[in-house]
Symmetry: C2
Subunit: 431 residues, 2 copies
């Protein structure tokens, strides 16, 4: 083997997305958390772990197996095949998912329009990849926006056209302006991505009228709405219906996650894509069918064992994740109120410091009178042992902004108190 | 909501891969199997189901949990977090996978160069997406080739440059010719995809000298080798080492699957990508690190529950899937020999009919004196109740060829006998 040499691979010779600020963002944020393990973290948007229970995994699997045995009239070979063999591309718990959507969200969909995916992230990527035909296509997205949405768009070669957010979650006048100038520039805005309930990073939610007006604009300007809803059940239940529940004409592609309300480690999500698609020799196919074709080339199918874990949990709770997460929802609401009270106690009299007041979810935004970038996060971690997320990452930019995302989903009240004390120290040190 | 209308989506306005013959292939083959459930199928390349056991899933999970508890010094919170929370992008069983590679394949790799993926398909897609920088990039692939390799390449916008196969698995003279003319046309052949052991669909394997020469050519012409090895352990063990075991200079990206030898329903695979990558501000990163960055935008991480199932199975078998699959390997070898004897008994005197003689794996090829396309498959299914796979699908073409792929991995000897009787009827009806 002498004479052989290592290949020369340079980052600039690999896919564009790898050299983007988004890729660096994810890496930087992971590394900071890794280097300061004893810091209190308002950075990680992870679900609460206090009720994690490995025995439940075994029980959910057994519950689903029992359900399947009933459905397959006791045919044990078919049960084992369904749970252990390669399987249906669109998934095996699609009917259970559809029933959950009816029970918890008032969304009525044909189970055939559901594709069960490897977390919500795969659902998003499948949708963006399908909608990317050529370099005229683009994605509207409310910014600041989930970093993984920027990442999936880049990986799908789909440029993001940023739409301003607002206290109502989206600035619809700006949306119209962005669509008009994109079309004037020869672009096709295919869809508008947003998290209408308890957005990441802002925690903001769209009111009912804003939802209806966005649907109307989607029709007028002929784009889809990609509704990403990982946090919707994590509030007090007083909010308006999801956009999919209001969607009478297949304008909305709905992305669902079981990472926050099911079991994070199952990595199961789904997409509802009931849009009719023409051009297949007259066959009546939907966008879900196209996403399944793409999935068959990407991950083949979602682990039926992982699906069975989620299926079992849904079956045991009458298809309701609201019911299944009563304790968790209380923790999240208590933490939200605890953080809001804590911010008031520490910053009420601090000029230039303010915060927004979401009514659910995992996040809120703290505004400060200085640019809070990666260098200051590093300082905050090292000197004050408290982590948070600089907001410029959610704009896919490198220029720091005067906002911090605070995540409180996985902390105890004591950690919140101590963390806010440290945060106050850090902020005052910058003034 | 009156006045709203459904979006107009046409297949031609969606990603190119959806309108390709490959997408139609997958769909057609699935539909035929679905429409003729009572046919004997030499079409499906599925693992043998006779030893499937749901109790084992619970046991594997418990075994992995015990192992993890040891490793984490009894920290139950950390154990639950590792198995149930969002986790490490590259996976949690990377060290176990590396040990398995050492034990079963004589491959020694840094566990940090392993990325655990959602089946081998995601490993392939990650690799191809990373290597696709712009429209000059292309993929060399031995054809006929696994349909999912064509599909992943299309989804990654990476054109396939077909390289002829041969009884030795690859025609190296043709490879050199294809590389030369591609470069002359301004293309960059980034890698050569192949299954060196018991290829799909041909069952062919590369000899030791062919492997060495391919590595040498990869160095001379500066491309990577993507070694896809789902079937390597499913022979009598007399074959040459894997190309990765021979790879002293990081030329080979190795794709591994636990679908055939682990548990198909776990959907766990992996990629070993120890190629150094420059350009990250002097940081020492590998291709595996880049694949992990892409994965974080695609599926975030592979279900740790699914990984625990595979981890548990490996731990229980001293890291050896050869040991774990003794019974299955015997079934596959017995079936292979049964099919070969059965073909000889039925077709020895039939002019124009011949078949190849793999020494392991799931497949062999039957050559017939007529073009065996999708229409004849439909006839075969309807009139003779036997399924097989037309070989043109593995060329990503629509023009039928005079070959059938026969898969025997999931059949009983009785099904093989009856299936070959029906196949002989079908073939004679065409003569």
């Amino acid at each position: 083997m002498t004479g052989l040499s290592a290949p020369r691979l340079d980052i600039l010779e690999l896919h564009d997305s790898l050299a983007s600020p988004v890729s660096e963002s994810m890496n930087f944020l992971n590394e900071v958390a890794h280097h300061y393990p004893d810091a209190i973290s308002f950075a990680a948007g992870r679900p609460y772990e206090g009720f994690f229970d490995l025995d439940l995994i075994h029980r959910y699997l057994a519950t689903y197996e029992e359900h399947l045995t009933d459905r397959l009239n006791g045919d044990q070979i078919a049960v084992r095949r369904t749970m252990l063999q390669y399987g249906r591309t669109k998934g095996i718990i699609h009917e259970i998912v559809a029933e959950h959507l009816r029970v918890d969200e008032g969304i009525v969909v044909d189970p055939e329009s559901v594709v069960v995916t490897v977390g919500c992230q795969e659902a998003l990527y499948l949708t963006l990849r399908a909608l990317r035909r050529d370099d005229k296509d683009a994605l509207l997205a409310v910014v600041p926006s989930y970093v993984g949405a920027h990442g999936a768009a880049q990986l799908a070669d789909l440029p993001v056209l940023p739409v301003q957010d607002s206290p109502e979650g989206i600035d619809l006048a700006d949306l119209v302006e962005v669509v008009r100038s994109a079309k004037a520039a020869g672009l096709r805005p295919r869809a508008c991505y947003l998290v209408p309930d308890f957005a990441n990073p802002s925690g903001a939610s769209l009111g009912l009228e804003t939802r209806r007006e966005l649907l109307r604009l989607a029709e007028e300007h002929d784009f889809l709405v990609i509704e990403d809803n990982p946090y919707g059940l994590l509030g007090d239940g007083s909010g308006p219906p999801t956009m999919k529940a209001l969607d009478e004409h297949h304008r909305v592609v709905y992305l669902g996650s079981f990472a926050k309300t099911g079991v994070p480690g199952a990595r199961v999500g789904y997409v509802v894509a009931d849009q009719p698609v023409s051009g297949r020799d007259g066959r009546a196919e939907t966008l879900a069918d196209q996403l399944a074709r793409i999935k068959s080339m990407l991950t083949v199918n979602t682990s039926p064992i992982a699906q069975a874990v989620i299926g079992g949990k849904l079956l045991e709770n009458g298809y309701s994740l609201k019911a299944a997460n009563k304790r968790e929802i209380q923790v999240y609401l208590d933490n939200l109120h605890h953080v809001q009270r804590g911010l008031a106690a520490r910053f009420s009299d601090t000029p230039g410091v303010s915060w927004n007041t979401p009514v659910g979810g995992f996040f809120c935004l703290l505004t400060v009178p200085f640019a809070a970038g990666d260098d200051l996060l590093e300082t905050s971690a090292r000197r004050h042992r408290v982590l948070w997320t600089p907001v410029h990452h959610f704009y896919a930019e490198t220029e720091p902004r005067r906002q911090l995302r605070l995540s409180f989903s996985h902390l105890s009240p004591e950690e919140i108190d101590e963390g806010l004390d440290r945060l106050a120290e850090f902020v005052r040190a910058q003034l």
